[in-house]
């Protein structure tokens, strides 16, 4: 089998704010942007890596999601316990400085972890946790 991880998903609650974070702060390219209002599906990814994308999507858009479930999801997003992603970069310190300068909410400064990695963490505008670890 030859399977790649093509697209993963993160929810947004304000498409323009999320777009600004992934495009302008993380420097991702925008590969598609469909829908309107809060119902927007925006595909972003790192330049030079067309095989891997993140889809920024409205949460609970599936009509099978009940009103209670929708409320739970939006509350979990607001309190920061719903979506997360793990990114990596060869130069963690430079990346941290740039993202921090872009006014992102810092959750953790670059830290050596006991399990053998060094990483930092930010919040995206929708409350998703974005961890970035150092490639070494």
């Amino acid at each position: 089998m030859d399977i790649t991880i093509h697209t993963s998903f993160l929810p947004h609650d304000d498409p323009d704010a999320s777009l600004a974070f992934y495009r302008d702060v993380l420097g991702f390219e925008v590969r598609s942007d469909v829908g309107q209002g809060r119902m927007r599906w925006i595909t972003v990814g790192p330049a030079g890596q067309p095989d891997t994308s993140i889809l920024l999507a409205p949460p609970a858009a599936d009509p099978g999601v009940t009103e209670d479930e929708r409320r739970t999801i939006t509350e979990m997003m607001a309190k920061g316990t719903y979506g997360w992603i793990l990114l990596a970069t060869p130069d963690l310190d430079a990346t941290f400085e740039k993202v921090q300068a872009g006014d992102a909410e810092v959750v953790q400064e670059p830290t050596e972890q006991p399990y053998g990695i060094r990483d930092c963490a930010f919040r995206d505008p929708a409350g998703n946790l974005v961890r970035i670890q150092e490639l070494r």
């Binding site: 607001a78 309190k79 920061g80 909410e105 959750v107 400064e109 972890q113 399990y115 053998g116």
Partner: protein, 172 residues
């Protein structure tokens, strides 16, 4: 009826805004746990009283901001103690605890053994690993080798109200 729906929407929007404020408090604890943080200062920053913040935070996250802060500090302390180059007192201050007594008490509650014993065992385990030439995890009950870091972080994290069972490993 339309007005009722509107009012409900407004209440929900306020609730989400409140939760986002609590998230910022929690993130600040994660970011600045090594600073001399206290609940009054955290509350002031988000325009809440200390009592209101504590109640709201507990309702959202299941523990008080103070408890979350101490858990975060103990979590980091276990990492620093495993390194072996810092004393218990140095680690206590490095993670933002001003009182060695409070630090030792909470550490023992969460980890199951006092920090000094933890440090010694971690050193012994590291020696053992060095001698055997095999990979292992010093001083922890779980092996995190090969786990994604974020998962390892969650499994090794001390958990509030899940204090280590007493006398799990009898002291020598």
């Amino acid at each position: 009826m339309c007005q009722l729906a509107w009012r409900r929407a407004r209440v929900q929007a306020q609730r989400l805004a409140d939760l986002a404020r609590l998230r910022r408090v929690r993130d600040r604890i994660d970011r600045e746990y090594a600073q001399p943080l206290n609940v009054e200062a955290l509350a002031r920053d988000v325009n809440m009283s200390a009592g209101h913040l504590s109640r709201q935070f507990r309702a959202a996250y299941g523990e008080s901001p103070y408890s979350y802060l101490m858990t975060r500090r103990i979590e980091r302390a276990t990492a620093l103690l495993r390194r072996g180059d810092l004393s218990v007192t140095e680690v206590c201050f490095a993670v933002g605890c001003a009182s060695l007594g409070t630090f030792t008490t909470r550490f023992t509650e969460l980890v199951g053994i006092p920090p000094g014993v933890f440090r010694r065992r971690a050193a012994e385990a590291a020696d053992y690993v060095d001698a055997a030439g095999t990979a292992g995890d010093a001083g922890s009950a779980v092996t995190v080798e090969g786990m994604p870091a974020c998962v390892a972080k969650q499994v090794t994290r001390p958990v509030r109200n899940r204090e280590a069972p007493a006398a799990e490993q009898p002291l020598a």
